[in-house]
Every structure is written in structure tokens, then in C-alpha cells.
């Protein structure tokens, strides 16, 4: 179970992630992935039992990459509101970098793939559920701190609010992907997130 000599498996994951993110699961074939990763078909099926299994692995990979950002943004060392602001900035920045790398706005890889496949592949739906849950837990912690700071009412349903925030990001990123534009993300992501938080009183402008 240790790491294999070459990074064949990882190379397949990275390549598939990029190709699927840029287009879609259905539009990318196993042959496409193999060719781009310089891996022969037989090797592919040595590491993954099927195409969808690789897809699920790319979702986990995407989450792992995002986790680095989340861990930094949600450091308890800073105030809870500032954490969300940091997150909005980081998400936007990540989209800018991805757009530069792939030549188009790609949105959230997990969301796009799940929207395409969740209705047919339970493994994808379950993976999405797992990943979204993990991200929502970051929100919940910060939301509880907002309650403690008196910025949110004491009876706030933290779990529901966290889901709402996740759905908010999903909507913004999906929209940006379809429109292939970073503009509304730049304009609206942060203020919209703050509005979604539904703070008792708006603290304008510190930053």
C-alpha cells in the first residue's frame, strides 16, 4: 500500500482532474486521460476499477487542494468575520489562477462533476456529500464564534446556515463557470457572502 515507484496513479488523478474540470466527465474519455498522462490503458485499470472510480478520486484530490486554503483562512487566530472575508478572497483568487492556467473560468470541480453525475452514480453523490460536509464544518465553527461575539443571534441554526453558505458558493462558482467570467465573482462574492451570513449589524469597511 506504499507509494509506487513512479507517480502513475497520481499522474492519472491530476490529469483527469484537469481534463474533466476544463470540460466534463462525459466529454473526456479514458483514452484521452491515458494519452495526456502518458499512461497505457492497461495501467489505468491496474489502478482504478472503472472510469467513475477515477472521477471520485479526483474529487478527493480537489478537496485536498482546497483544504490547504481552508486551514489557512479558518485559523482561529483571527476574528470569525475576517475568516469568511479571507475565504471569499481566497476562493476568488483560486478562480483567477485556475482561469489563467486553463484558459477559462472553471468553477468548482466537485460541483460541476456532481451536478453531471450525481443522478446516476451514487459513489459520486456520496463523495460530494462527504466533501461538502467537511467544508461546512469549517463554516459551523466560525459561525459559532460569530454567535459568541454577538454578531449572530443566539438561536442561529448553525448547521443550516453553513449549508446555505455552501450553496451560495456553489451558485456563484457555477454561474462564473457557465458565463466564463470572473467579473461578477469579483464584484459580488464577498458582499454576497456577508449578506448570506445575515449579521445583526453590518460592520462596514475595516480591512
Amino acid at each position: 500500500m506504499g507509494q509506487n515507484t513512479n507517480g502513475t496513479r497520481q499522474r492519472l488523478i491530476d490529469t483527469a482532474q484537469a481534463l474533466i474540470w476544463k470540460s466534463s466527465y462525459g466529454a473526456v474519455s479514458v483514452d484521452d486521460i491515458c494519452k495526456a498522462a502518458d499512461v497505457k490503458k492497461g495501467s489505468f485499470y491496474h489502478y482504478f476499477p472503472s472510469k467513475v472510480d477515477l472521477a471520485v478520486a479526483t474529487m478527493e484530490e480537489s478537496h485536498a487542494q482546497l483544504k490547504v486554503i481552508y486551514d489557512e483562512c479558518f485559523s482561529p487566530g483571527i476574528g470569525p468575520l475576517a475568516r469568511f472575508e479571507k475565504l471569499a478572497d481566497a476562493v476568488y483568487q483560486a478562480q483567477v489562477e485556475t482561469a489563467a492556467k486553463y484558459g477559462m473560468v472553471c468553477g468548482c470541480p466537485c460541483a460541476s462533476m456532481s451536478s453531471e453525475m450525481a443522478c446516476q452514480e451514487d459513489s459520486v453523490r456520496n463523495k460530494f456529500e462527504e466533501i461538502s460536509r467537511r467544508q461546512e464544518r469549517y463554516y459551523e465553527t466560525a459561525l459559532r464564534d460569530l454567535v459568541a461575539d454577538g454578531l449572530l443571534p443566539g438561536d442561529t441554526d448553525v448547521r443550516a446556515k453553513a449549508e446555505e453558505i455552501y450553496a451560495y458558493f456553489l451558485g456563484q462558482l457555477t454561474m462564473a463557470r457557465i458565463q466564463n467570467s470572473l467579473e461578477s465573482l469579483k464584484q459580488n462574492l464577498k458582499p454576497g457572502l456577508l449578506r448570506t451570513l445575515g449579521l445583526k449589524q453590518t460592520l462596514a469597511g475595516a480591512a
Copy 2:
């Protein structure tokens, strides 16, 4: 250019809309559509130059169906805030009916398909742009009435707010589709929409 004897073309559109909505563009083949619509392959290509052209036609069809709902909800006969509330109810109700019809929560057909294909097919992206724009115009009218009623500040960027509302629906519906659940839609769609509106003062509870 008149209507053809039988509704072959329309049958293809309706069938494709249902099949793609339930799964995805990539997972549905032209043969699948033809078989389900009881239309021979040759006839398919008599009416549509390609598979994506049919897909774009289903987007227009989806919009036409939604337009009926919109026209009713956004009747100027009722207050602007009540229009949005009516819309939230109607969107939820439509999802309930679709879920019952197809056995799963399907979300927004245009959004799912566009998220899947917009990165590769400009015709899809353009159609989405056209349709989303048409829907946003309903929001803009109601938003201006909200401003006139003093429920929104006079300097509200109505265009941007309309886009935000559209993105909000898109996020909620995509989430519901992936999770295959109407629950959060039922709980959150209306209050979240009202929060997205960002009214100066909340008018709790009438009806």
C-alpha cells in the same frame, strides 16, 4: 415553416428534455432519444443538424415552460415583495412536481446542461446567457418597484441584484439536484431569497 403533420420535432424536444434532465447530456445518446421518442435516426437529423442543436432547443423549451410561471408570479397586480415570495413558492412547487414525475430531484435543466457543456459549446453558453437575461429582467422590474416602495435604497444596482438572485436560485437548485433532496429547498429557498434581496427592514410573516 408551418407545423408539421405529426409532432415529431416537438416529441424529440420533449423526450430529450426529460432524458437529459434526469441524467446528463453526455449520458444520453441520440439513439436513446430516438428510441424513447419513437423516431428514427434519419428523422432526427431531418429536424436537427446535430445533437447539441437539439440540446439548445430543449433549453428554449425549458424556458418557455418556466415563462408561464414567471408571468403569473410577476403580475404587477401584486406588491413587488409578494412577487418574489410567490416565485419562491412556485419554484419549490415545480421541483416537487418534477421530482414526483421523474423519481428524483432534477434542479434547473438549463443550469445543469450549461454547467456541463458551456465550456465546450458556445451555442449552449449563448443560449444560457439569453435565457438567464430574460429571467433577470423580471427580477429587475420587481426590484425597481421595491425601490419605489422604499424597501430598497434608491442607489440599488438593480441589474447586479438581479444577477445575484439568479445565481442564488441556481445554487439552491444545483444543490438540491446533487443531494437529491427537497428538504433544504423547502426550508431555505424563500427566506434565503428574501435575505438575498437585502431589504432595508424585514417584514415578518404576512401569510
